[in-house]
Symmetry: C2
């Protein structure tokens, strides 16, 4: 019996456990200090009442013979796909129902999609980045090439014509940096992918935070993307579904490689290794798209966006370089000259009693940077910024 | 860009779509005939009220700031693991919480577990069998060896010492045959696996249907199994969760291969490619284990078991060879001499207006057999059996 030895090449991530340990140790030594957490990547505002009511109703249905739902379609119910189709029409993207696959979250599908690709492909991954892109490819033993995100390119790396890649990961608005690609920049990426016969895996989990006009909400707003991209979306940050679990993946019918329609491969993967998302949860997700649901989740997004503005205004006032925060819940700041990300973490924790996330935890190019998030309480976020401004 | 070419070696399964087409065509031509469906593998009794109430409560919690649950542990909540630990104690199996992984269903985990094994392993699969075992391994390009299940061995194949396998699939009570391994038989399999350094992937999705004393409910009732087996369980058939989605996988800490603890590999797989099951659904699953829940789901199982008895009594009366039905919702019957499985399907549909599943759809050795299920309505099941008995 042989194990998958690629797993032995994975590095253990101690980022969040180290943070937790340091915060715990400090809190125990300093029980009088009020620690404010701006490191959290999870939402804090509860589900909208439209979703709650829909899930209560669906739970009741599951308890009656007449309205009971057994096995559903692995790809998700039509009622939810229809709601998503209407949503995409708002940014002028037309999708067929068969192009939408309901998932239990973007993280699952971002990992599982690799099943349909050969292990011989070369993968292009931004650095710094959400660690899942890297780890899932290490597990398959693929060759990984990094694209550098840094201050010079505003943490938005552009195609290097000398690099030949088969699979390209993009996340916009970005986790952890909060940077967002413009239409023109995505056009360049689509042109690069088409030229190289590559496939873009586009993580759009944070699209709902885009406020500025003209910034694409979906890769499919770009001409040619239907021939070279798969998009991963989530209700996690959009509608607070981090613990309720629902997302969706869009695989256009025009996306073909080696004479094969990738949508059909993914359908085969999902019908074989997945049994669909809970009927109850899909009803909760559907309710997000009702008029009432849309208003309720918009209010939550606006709440987080106000927090982000409090943070970015403070950075401007203090003359600290940053990116993100405008179309993203994440603000990526440059740490004080001469400090590493972890030294800045210790400084903020001990001197200001603020917890953030060291940028170096997201990759080599994150060194010297720090992630603050807008998912906290509004008053606490304001207080944290006052502390930063005080001497 | 290269696709995973192993997918091209998959055969399309037309089993259930062909059945649907044939039934539709017959129903359209014969609108006056009352067709009884005994082919269905899905449950028909709704969720127990204990689960429904728990999920309504959990949905409400998700709508309040104080009780909101964001990201949960990928491996599942302690409250559900604790309930499962108590359940296993009833058949004298002691599990650590870290050995239990809550899943969105056995199908997902049965497919995903293969991530942690090398593609170089030889896989031993019974024939006939649940098609997922075969297809998920074809997707990875593994070498597959079949073990013949047939009338001579009561559709319970035993180890062949001349065959060297690395991964062994077992399903007991079996889908589609309903056959159940005895303790002595499982002991032989465990001895074979230990001798060959193999891992048994034990699908226990139907364990709740076991009524006869002495038949193992879990592979871990067998000494040595903790060194060679992984068990996959589901709330689907036990508690009607086919559309609500929850299951669990047990990976014992003693299970090591090539110096590596497989539990740690699976943990790494799940924390990287999965984000846990919905909090709401986990609360629903927990409620299955309450006194009230246990009584309610027991009543549903007894209902299905009575249907199975109606079917098996009829087969005895008619002198038709069968296996299953006693400790399983499935009855696997031998078709009339000189008929293929599909010919018998047509005969039953056209002459008796009964729908079942042709055994040949589950593999070569299923030819000449037919699957009837006990998940239907009690009165309809009785009527179907009366029709079989009438000339």
């Amino acid at each position: 019996m042989k194990i998958n030895k690629n797993y032995l090449a994975l590095e253990d991530s101690y980022l969040f456990s180290t943070i937790a340990k340091k915060v715990k140790a400090y809190a125990e030594k300093n029980p009088d200090k009020k620690i404010i957490r701006l490191g959290i990547g999870d939402v804090t505002i509860p589900l909208c009442s439209a979703s709650v009511e829909a899930m209560k109703k669906a739970s009741e249905e599951q308890g009656t013979k007449a309205n009971f739902h057994g096995y559903g379609p692995e790809q998700g119910y039509e009622f939810l796909k229809t709601a998503i189709q209407s949503y995409y029409k708002e940014f002028a993207v037309s999708l067929e129902a068969d192009e939408i696959f309901i998932s239990d979250g973007a993280k699952s599908d971002l990992g599982n999609i690799l099943d349909i690709f050969s292990r011989d492909n070369v993968v292009l991954i931004p650095n710094p980045v959400y660690p899942v892109y890297l780890d899932t490819n290490i597990m398959d033993g693929r060759t990984i090439v990094y694209m550098d995100a840094n201050e010079e390119n505003g943490f938005l790396p552009m195609p290097d014509p000398t690099v030949k890649a088969d699979l390209i990961y993009m996340c916009s608005p970005n986790n952890p940096t909060g940077a967002v690609y413009s239409k023109e920049q995505l056009e360049e990426w689509v042109a690069y992918a088409l030229k190289n016969d590559a496939v873009i895996l586009f993580d759009a989990a944070y699209e709902a935070f885009i406020t500025e006009n003209g910034l694409p909400r979906s890769i499919f707003e770009i001409e040619g993307a239907r021939q070279c991209a798969i998009e991963f979306c989530s209700f996690s940050k959009t509608a607070g579904f981090t613990g309720t679990r629902c997302g969706y993946t869009v695989v256009p019918m025009e996306l073909k490689r080696e004479g094969t329609v990738l949508n059909k491969l993914w359908l085969r993967r999902q019908t074989t290794k997945f049994n669909g998302v809970s009927y109850i949860v899909q009803r909760g997700a559907e309710a997000v798209f009702t008029k009432e649901g849309r208003e309720q989740i918009k209010a939550a997004t606006v709440y987080y966006q106000k927090n982000a503005k409090v943070i970015t205004e403070t950075m401007k006032e203090l003359g600290i370089w940053f990116v993100g925060g405008v179309n993203s819940p994440y603000v990526w700041i440059k740490v004080q000259e001469g400090m590493t990300s972890w030294e800045y973490f210790d400084y903020l924790l001990e001197e200001k009693n603020i917890v953030g996330t060291p940028g170096s935890g997201f990759g080599r190019n994150g060194e010297g940077y720090f992630r603050l998030t807008a998912f906290g309480d509004a008053d606490a976020t304001k207080e944290a910024m006052e502390r930063l401004k005080s001497k």
